[in-house]
Amino acid sequence: MDKKKEGGKGSDKTKLNTPLLDELEKGPWPSFVTDLKQWSEQKPQVAQLLNQLEDSYENRWNYWTGTVLNVTGYGGGIIARLSDKAEEYPDLAEFHTIRILPPAGFVYSTERLRNLTEICERHGAGILQLHGLTGDILALGFDNKGSRAASEELMANGWDLGGSGAALRSLQCCVGQARCEMACFDTMKTTRFLTNHYISFLHRPEFMYKFKIKVSGCGNDCANAMISSDMPIMGTWRGPMQVDQARVAEFIDESGVEYLIDNVITRCPTRCISLKGKELVVDNDDCVRCMHCINVMHKALKPGKERGVTICLGAKRTLKIGDTMSSVIVPFMPLETEEDFEKLTDLIDRIWEFWNDNAMDHERIGEFISRVGLGTFVEGIGLEPDPRMVRETRTSPFIKFEELAPGRLEGEQKQEPAVWQREPESRE
């Protein structure tokens, strides 16, 4: 891949010339420009990349186009990039990204990381992004041939490609039990289990649209699941929180009662904490597992002993119907035994089935739920409605009770899904 620029007219344009980008070499934060400029000494295509980027800076314009590229047997995982300036920068004519599945929790041995880097360097520009926002390892700068060769070799070395297109996307989880005392279940195991169990859905885009699963060990949501994934799997607990009163007393001695009142007691969303002398009493019936008090007093307080997950559905960013947020679909389930995991995959299977059977093209699950209504959706995936799925019950009095409205008119049709779909408010 170390091919030199092959003639053409824009030949001098392939020589590094980046006065604007050079401005980004200044300042204390590590500079990707400096790094890539140095690297371009070994990889001439990187000089072209920087020059094209310089053009972008100058013209406030972008020069990439692209689609999803197929690797044999794969539908996703490679993001094609073709330069509009291929004449000037011939090595950018094909300059694809390979999305590589990261180890759960983004943990690496130097051996594996070197192995990865070496393969990417050999078949492409060798630039790595650790990690993409969905969690993939992003390896930049492969032409068509290089993409395929790199993919092959990566796979031969125990790596696998990530998701793209209308598929399950690469899962992402927080560091969890590997280091964090808050973790309510094994996020890494869950992530790896689900990735491998559903690997075929990751690779073959056959969903209505993309589906992201993110896994956080507790409500703090370090994996960014709640507002950026279709299905957040969130650690939580059942039963009483663990309170170590000796450590509570220590906390008070160190920080004072006032600090405790102002920062713990009055900040509990359901005001279910009280102080009796130096004892902290939690009304566990009313605790909603928000994690706040545990965060502040993480030595003294811990999640309860009976642990599990809350499963939500529906977040995505803003295109089309506006931002959607995730909402609770399973308030609590344990996630330890094989049966627990089977229950989880069973649930996911039902969710996907109902969604893929009924959604419209390009409709993510949050948009789908928004359209058909959570009630219909919950029924569609075979769950019992639970008041914990909602913040409050309905205010709109117009309801189609199936029980109370047996077809009165000849030929009355049941709508599938049976929902009230709103038409536009404007009736111009």
Binding site: V288, V328, G373, G375, M389, I399, L404, R422
Partner: protein, 356 residues
């Protein structure tokens, strides 16, 4: 815009001439009030003057006989003045404390009205027209109120709740009865039937336009322009029925009643809020609607037991959570409790915060 009065536009009577002298004298100069007993408020002016207001529950719909009795009492005790409250109660004002007891006696014996509705009690139910006089009702109004208040009169005459309890009823899905702590609402369960033989559509485009889900389509029937309803789209709201009497939304056999909770207009604490569905499918059961009284009781009992001082019904539920509300009332949470109207997504639980 023209603001000149037209000849017949004479406007509203002058209230300053209709005020009890005690109220007129200290208008805008009140210092504080006291609830000296259920139904009786003492208002103290900055200058130390007091007036006493006795609140009596009325049936709202009254004959001249009853009004004459009211006037008679007001003449004897209140210098010929009286007022009605926002919840159709009659308020008698006197300026001497010793008049309170005989006034109450007169109200009870001569008028037969109970005294109460103040402070954290259940005041009179705001009601609508019903079968007595509206063109759209699926149930009665005055009757449901009477039946329910018979059951709740104890709570009108006492102040035993965490905060005031406002109840409303509505006799069709138009819902003239407003939001309240507890609201009783009729529900229809079928698309409107169109009576093609007696079409009285005055304004076809208006009828088509009124449907919120565009379920009404123009259609020529028997040669004349008319409309049809796309049943699958219709959400049984009855908006068309208000516009076009020939589109019959009601059904004596299938209409039901539902109960909604947690509405509030006061800006106190969390501010105004709309009422939300508690229980549905109650039978429309005249003359006394016992199932409705029953369900209302369940809510009130749970609220009385569990609510903290100053918590309105909705605030109590918000604090304990809907899950507990259903536990405590014994109602069942169903998929229909989940909003599917506009803004549904805002009602979902968009956090992992749950009581487990």
């Amino acid at each position: 815009m023209s603001t000149k009065l037209a000849p017949r536009d004479q406007g509203v009577p002058d209230h300053t001439e209709l005020l009890h002298p005690g109220m007129a004298k200290n208008y805008g100069k009140w210092d504080y009030h006291e609830r000296i007993r259920p139904g009786v408020l003492r208002y103290v002016a900055e200058n130390g003057d007091s007036v006493y207001t006795v609140r009596a529950g009325s049936p709202r719909t009254m004959s001249p006989n009853t009004i004459e009795k009211i006037c008679d009492i007001a003449d004897r005790f209140c210098q010929g003045f009286l007022r009605f409250s926002m919840r159709t109660n009659v308020e008698f004002t006197v300026d001497k404390e010793e008049l309170v007891a005989p006034l109450i006696e007169a109200i009870k014996t001569e008028l037969g009205f109970p005294v109460g509705g103040t402070g954290p009690s259940i005041s009179n139910i705001s009601h609508t027209q019903g079968w007595l006089h509206c063109n759209l009702p699926g149930t009665d109004a005055a009757g449901t109120v009477k039946a329910l208040m018979d059951d709740l009169i104890d709570e009108f005459e006492n102040e035993r709740f965490p905060n005031r309890v406002k109840i409303t009823t509505s006799c069709c899905q138009i819902n003239c009865g407003r939001h309240a702590d507890i609201g009783i609402v009729v529900q229809h369960h079928h698309p409107p039937r169109i009576d093609y033989d007696n079409m009285q559509i005055c304004d076809l485009p208006k009828v088509v336009a009124i449907c919120p889900v565009a379920a009404i389509r123009p259609k020529v029937v028997g040669g004349t322009p008319s409309v049809e309803v796309v049943d699958e789209k219709c959400m049984y709201c009855g908006a068309c029925h208000g516009q076009c009497p020939s589109m019959e939304i009601r059904d004596a056999d299938t209409d039901t009643l539902s109960i909604w909770v947690g509405g509030k207009g006061a800006n106190t604490r969390g501010g105004p809020s709309l009422m939300k569905l508690a229980v549905w499918g109650l039978p429309n059961n005249p003359p006394r609607w016992p199932e409705v009284s029953d369900a209302v009781r369940k809510i009130l009992d749970a609220y009385k037991e569990g609510g903290k001082d100053w918590e309105r019904v909705g605030e109590w539920i918000e604090r304990i959570g809907w899950q507990r509300f259903f536990e405590k009332t014994g109602f069942t949470f169903t998929k229909y409790h989940i909003e599917d109207g506009p803004n549904a997504m805002w009602t979902y639980n968009r956090s992992t915060q749950v009581r487990i």
